[in-house]
Symmetry: C2
Subunit: 195 residues, 2 copies
């Protein structure tokens, strides 16, 4: 009786990570199998197609983010500023890992045209990220202001990740992170005008 080398969940994790760092269309089934320490043929015991790996992968990733990253926002025992810093540091560290960038932005860029079915999954992750940020910011802002500022934090970080990857300098993402944390300080007469 052959031993179980790897669980389905682990396979999915490794594939998503490969998609993030090498791209979806650049990752062949052989590549994915190799990353998991399996032969190409063994892969079809778990999935019927490459597209299914992407879809399952994004579902699992969405759940992971909600449970292990965005959940930090709702821990009311910590002050808002600490939650914001902790959550974003964990999130951006993952994006910077191996210079792979944001999986949501990457898949949206390269696979939305060939795999339009995954769009709701990407939107789901972004929506959950936004809800988490908004929840933290509602301690310091009105509901409307918190919503708008939450989008701007996502936008700021996504732009920073892109520049950080292109120029290989972490300045962009570090400053975006700092700005986001300072957002928790609340409204000033000047900043209100700038929304």
């Amino acid at each position: 009786m052959p031993i179980q080398k790897i669980t389905r969940e682990e396979i999915i994790s490794k594939c998503v990570e490969r998609f993030r760092t090498h791209g979806f269309h650049s990752s062949t089934m052989s590549d994915l199998a190799e990353v998991c320490g399996l032969q190409k043929g063994s892969f079809y015991h778990y999935f019927t197609s490459k597209d299914e790996i992407l879809e399952e992968g994004l579902k699992q990733m969405s759940a992971y983010f909600q449970e292990h990253i965005f959940a930090i926002a709702y821990n009311d025992h910590l002050p808002p500023k600490k939650r914001m810093k902790s959550m974003l540091q964990k999130h951006t560290a993952m994006m910077l890992h191996k210079h792979g960038g944001c999986i949501v932005a990457n898949i949206a860029t390269e696979a939305l045209h060939t795999n339009p079915d995954v769009k709701p999954l990407l939107v789901e992750v972004s929506d959950n990220w936004h809800a988490a940020l908004r929840y933290i910011l509602q301690s310091s802002y009105t509901a409307k202001a918190a919503e708008i500022r939450a989008w701007r934090i996502i936008q700021d970080i996504e732009g920073a990740i892109m520049l950080t990857r292109l120029y290989g300098k972490e300045t962009f993402i570090k400053q975006a992170l700092q700005r986001s944390v300072e957002y928790c300080d609340g409204e000033t007469a000047e900043s209100a005008k700038r929304v």
Copy 2:
């Protein structure tokens, strides 16, 4: 004697546009040929490989941007605010066209790992964009402040393009554009602290 259906320059333009809207790895040689109204075989009269098309395409695009978009920044007959608005409107309109996004960001995301040689070309375009923005902002800011704010405009717009594509709403990019134009109004006591 067969007539010339299309010039090399036109072929390159159509290929770059296809890469931007459908991705590099998702665009086959057949796709590219079809877009140009040619047969696959005819393509190899102009290029030796698909990678060469990408490289030549990015070179031509870089020159086009410098000449037709970034050049607007250096037209000192117009007030800074008008130059900023005119340049960014033209640039973002191209990015939004067919929801294709920014060619630089797209190629950086999906082809930097398979085609690292094109990185200098992507950096060149970004550098030129930054220089154009910085030139406009130097009317209102110190050299150092102008440099930092020019990067933040690029970052803001790249993040906005990503969100606009994912959510299909132009609010993100429109507001980023407005913020960028308002940057030309110059330093205030509050905004200085926020750099």
